[in-house]
């Protein structure tokens, strides 16, 4: 590769990294109470409306839950406390985020397991293919070689 390419690539990598760092710094965690309440409402399902979350639902119970969330947040309860409180009040399935303990943790773990497994399989497959290619020439290869030899 020409030197010009290296310089250009360095520029691209530098600009990209800088942009990503700036982007990451600009993204602050929820600071105000309102932002925290918003995130909780966004991840709680309205118990009567088939999978809509309480932030978006127009159902009366959803607006009641919104008010309760605001109340609990202003009392300074932690996210976990509020979620647990809601689960006791309305059932575990108001929480749109499945828990990471008990049997529910499988829904998080199984895909990760499969991702790692398939990545490992890919690596070993490529390694096998490479080894196979390196050690024994195929029939096609031998044919090409012999035909070339005959010609000379």
């Amino acid at each position: 590769m020409k030197a010009r390419h290296w310089v250009s690539w360095l520029c691209v990598v530098f600009v990209s990294s800088l942009a990503l760092v700036v982007a990451a710094i600009a993204d602050d965690p929820p600071a105000t109470e309102a932002e925290r309440a918003y995130e909780i409402k966004e991840t709680m399902l309205c118990p009567v409306c088939d999978g809509q979350n309480v932030l978006e639902s127009n159902a009366p119970v959803a607006s009641a839950i919104r008010a309760q969330v605001d109340q609990l947040v202003s009392e300074g309860r932690s996210d976990e406390e509020i979620r647990a409180w809601m689960a006791r009040q309305y059932g575990k399935d108001v929480n749109a985020n499945p828990p990471r303990t008990g049997i529910a943790s499988l829904v998080w773990a199984v895909p990760v397991f499969f991702a790692v497994l398939s990545a490992a399989l890919m690596v070993s497959a490529f390694r096998k293919w490479r080894v196979g290619r390196g050690t024994e020439p195929s029939d096609d290869d031998l044919e090409i070689v012999s035909s070339l030899r005959e010609r000379t």
Binding site: T43, N97, P111
Partner: protein, 658 residues
């Protein structure tokens, strides 16, 4: 009135019943004829199957026409019409009521399927004695038997009532307030049902042992038609829910949405990996499995949405079809596994993928990611059912889960999509990548800087936007070179059309990322003349319009959106439906959408409204991206590239050598 109505209705319902019966008989007759023809191997015998297939299609057409007549004439002694239509339903929605409820939607399914079978029969009419084509038709007809069987028995759409009510109940109001109701389900079914055709050919290839690339070439066009219809159908569904449901989103990871998304994911993996097989003769087992899975997932989705096992806004009424659909799904699985197991040895292909840094490697990565994506969607959808079955525990798997698990995969897919076009087949030298990917990568970097300047923030969103720019860059580079070589034919064919579709995906990704990450909202309690402001958009509440539309109370709030005009979100109280339905109004532009919806129905006589204002950037680009994807797929169907393929390959090898 009552007498005339019920009299004509009996005739119509009878015609419909006869139509469905003819369809069933046609399908059975077709299967028997094909089986005996395959045994006798006589050409004339095969030809007889064509008549049965046409008979089946004719019967189904008769049934659909009968249902439409019943709907349009308000024949309420037909049970389906009485429960799903009313006299006051507008014409468009009367027509669309055909697919508004369970039985009718299955009738539409059978109708679309008959259409596909007829089209396949006509286009293969001279090769029908070919064993591959005969087996494919046979397989598709068995699927037809199943669906006509449902219509004849447990999901009969033509049941009658002894006494016709004066008026019907009507559809759920959410299904009759937007014209997309007339298009989205049909489009979705064209996609869903369309995968039956390649499925038939895949089974035929396995049965006949003709496992080469022949069947792939035969079905390529059909697969693309099914895929593009499903893509457009899903996006229209997203648009519809955006315009109608009033929460400002377009995708909720709802089980029914997932059911339509699952076959799309495996189907998308298939249309990519099939290129590896056509080019290198590899991945045969994998491609067959993907196609069989795709079809099985369409049946599984139908089971999910029509058996009442899940809660969803889109769900059909609970029915007794669950066990039948589950049984059919199991049958498909068993047949698929047995066939692939039986032919396993012959399917092994000789080649190997030399390097992960190659076109094949990219396709492989694409397939792994799509499969993982599909697996997570499937797991998340059925996990609550599994947990409930195991320990009777109720839990939900919602958007936060899908976002957390799937967004990284989406980012990885964008990366692969950007790199793939600069790779060559077999293996790619680092130098080649360095040279070809430089400009696309620079475009990606510039996109990120631009996004930051426009106010984007957050590592994930900005990275996604940058990769989107990279995808656009490398797709445009590919198209530019192709057009230089071949003129405008360069944008057609699988490579050209595919690149256009990728640009569409990148546009869609921009819209998706911006609208989910950077939306702002506000809720205002307004009296006439009051103002509110969200993300720089000034709104002014002008007046409230409270009127009766027949039996329904409709309240509109006329609101001026600064620089965009007057919009009127509404909220309607239907007497036959519990809580009021809010109909949003959206001020769209290519920069951002101002989404207005009324939160609660105002008290009568009051002029105070509660308005939710949502400002979502770049949403419109999701729909534009969908259009570009559809256009790209149509370009990919143009067979122009084949003529140039030898020429292009030469150039590609030259390029690789540089």
């Amino acid at each position: 009135m009552l007498v005339r109505g019920s009299g004509s209705c009996i005739v119509i319902a009878l015609l419909g019943t006869i139509g469905v019966a003819i369809g069933f008989v046609g399908a059975v007759g077709g299967v028997i004829t094909l089986v005996s023809a395959l045994a006798s191997k006589r050409e004339a015998h095969h030809r007889r199957a064509i008549a049965w297939i046409f008979l089946m299609a004719g019967g189904c057409l008769l049934a659909v026409v009968a249902m439409e007549i019943g709907l349009l004439r308000d024949d309420f002694s037909m049970q389906y019409v009485a429960s799903n239509s009313t006299r006051s339903t507008p014409l468009l929605y009367k027509i669309a009521t055909l697919w508004g409820a369970l039985e009718g939607s299955l009738l539409l399914w059978a109708f679309v399927l008959s259409g596909y079978v007829t089209a396949v029969t006509i286009s293969f009419r001279w090769q029908i004695q070919d064993r591959l084509v005969a087996w494919a038709l046979l397989t598709i007809l068995v699927v037809c038997i199943f669906f006509f069987g449902l219509l004849v028995g447990p999901a009969d759409p033509f049941g009658t009532l002894p006494v016709a009510p004066l008026d019907g109940d009507g559809l759920n109001p959410l299904l009759r307030n937007h014209p997309l109701m007339a298009i989205h389900p049909v489009m979705l079914y064209l996609g869903y049902v369309g995968f039956t055709v390649p499925f038939g050919f895949a089974v035929a290839a396995l049965v006949t042992g003709r496992l080469g690339e022949g069947w792939l070439v035969l079905t390529r066009l059909w697969t693309l038609i099914a895929w593009v219809s499903l893509t457009v159908g899903i996006l229209l569904g997203a648009w519809w829910s955006y315009e109608v449901l009033g929460w400002g989103g377009y995708w909720a990871w709802d089980p029914v949405e997932n059911a339509s998304f699952l076959p799309w994911l495996t189907g998308t993996a298939f249309i990519h990996s099939v290129l590896v097989q056509e080019r290198r003769g590899m991945l045969r087992v994998w491609n067959l499995s993907l196609l069989l899975t795709t079809f099985a997932l369409t049946i599984f989705g139908t089971f999910l949405t029509r058996s009442g096992v899940i809660d969803s806004v889109h769900e059909f009424s609970a029915s007794s079809l669950g066990p039948l659909l589950l049984g059919f799904f199991s049958l498909i699985l068993v047949v698929s596994v047995v066939l692939i197991g039986w032919r396993g040895d012959e399917l092994r292909s000789p080649g190997s993928i030399d390097s992960p840094l190659s076109r094949e490697g990219a396709f492989l990565a694409n397939n792994l990611l799509f499969t993982l994506f599909a697996f997570i969607v499937l797991l998340g959808t059925i996990f609550p059912l599994i947990v409930e079955a195991i320990n009777d525990d109720q839990l939900a798997v919602g958007r936060p889960y899908f976002d957390r698990m799937l967004l990284p995969i989406g980012v990885a897919l964008l990366l692969v999509m950007g790199i793939a076009p600069v790779l060559t087949w077999r293996s790619t030298a680092g130098q080649t990548i360095g040279k070809r990917a430089l400009v696309p990568a620079a475009i990606g970097a510039v996109t990120m800087v631009l996004a930051l300047m426009l106010g984007a923030q957050g590592l994930g969103p900005v990275l996604g936007i940058g990769l989107g720019g990279f995808v656009v860059g490398s797709s445009v580079r590919h198209l530019f070179l192709a057009v230089l070589r071949n003129g405008w034919a360069g944008i057609t064919g699988r490579a050209g059309g595919g690149m256009v579709a990728h640009i569409g995906v990148a546009l869609l990704a921009f819209g998706f990322i911006a609208s989910t990450s950077f939306s702002e909202e506000g809720e205002f309690q307004l009296r006439p003349g009051d103002r509110g402001s969200v993300a720089g958009h000034e709104i002014t509440f002008i007046e409230i319009v409270d009127e009766m539309d027949g039996p329904d109370r409709v309240v509109r709030a006329r609101i001026n959106v600064e620089g965009r005009g007057v919009y009127a979100p509404a909220i309607t109280q239907y007497p036959t439906f519990g809580r009021p339905i809010s109909t949003p109004s959206v001020a769209t532009s290519f920069v951002d959408d101002v989404y207005l919806s009324l939160i609660a129905i105002p008290e009568e006589g009051s002029d105070v409204v509660v308005v939710r204002v949502l400002v979502e950037p770049l949403v419109a680009w999701i729909w534009v991206g969908g259009l570009v994807i559809a256009g790209g797929t149509l370009l990919a169907m143009v067979p122009g590239r084949r003529r140039f393929s030898a020429f292009v390959e030469e150039i590609e090898t030259e390029e690789a050598g540089l």
